[in-house]
Amino acid sequence: MIVTTTKGDMDDSLLEHRAGEIENDNELTTWTEYWLDGELVHRSAHVTLKKIPTFAGGAAASF
């Protein structure tokens, strides 16, 4: 797979792949990183918003 990096497009077989995920009440976030010789050359993130904003620090906007 070709990956867009700071060095240009590269085949992922040449890169170290790291990925992670965090989930809490507010979001589900995943990220993907590609490293080349200890240098971060690509990082993407995907945030799924889960929580509606509160109004003025209270409950859901109400009036």
Partner: protein, 163 residues
């Protein structure tokens, strides 16, 4: 300094003034009586050191992210779905709206940590609508995607409820 997730306060009164029209236009209003248009919403990212919150009234470039591939002001939000309202009783109702597609910043490099997105109405003098926060992120030659929650009474991105 910190960003705080909230629907902005000014949005509430602006709704009563009909200053926003989210989603597919359903009424004849404002600019043209014969060809009403939907307002354009945009989404701008803010640094973790910024202060965007319920008191934010309009988009500002101050403390907005900057970097390769990112245009000041952010990206256009797809808002093809009109707001919906429903009620479960005479005194309990809810109006809700969610953009109809993910918000995507394609092939950007944002090296300073950011943790908030401001959704605002670029048609109506960049009036602020809401702030949404998430864990701090940086992007390197990559894509940042914000996926919207389900557009329901309990999970929609914007929700106005009677109690």
């Amino acid at each position: 300094m910190a960003n705080t997730q909230s629907m902005v306060t000014s949005f509430l009164s602006e709704l009563m003034l009909a200053q926003h029209q989210l989603g597919t236009s359903t009424i004849v209003s404002r600019g043209s009586l014969t060809a009403p248009t939907t307002d354009t919403l945009k989404a701008a990212l803010y640094l973790a050191s910024a202060t965007v919150n319920a008191s934010t009234t309009a988009y500002s470039a101050t403390n907005e992210v900057s970097g390769t591939g990112y245009t000041a002001g952010g990206v256009t939000v797809t808002n093809a779905t009109a707001p919906t309202s429903t009620n479960s009783s005479a005194t309990a109702g809810v109006g809700f709206f969610t953009p109809s597609a993910s918000i995507v910043y394609t092939t950007v490099t944002l090296t300073t940590a950011f943790d908030a997105v401001l959704i605002y109405n670029s048609t109506q003098s960049n009036k602020a609508i809401s702030v949404h926060t998430f864990g701090s992120q940086t992007i390197t030659a990559g894509t940042f995607t914000l996926t919207m929650p389900s557009n329901t009474t309990t999970t929609a991105l914007l929700r106005l409820a009677t109690t």
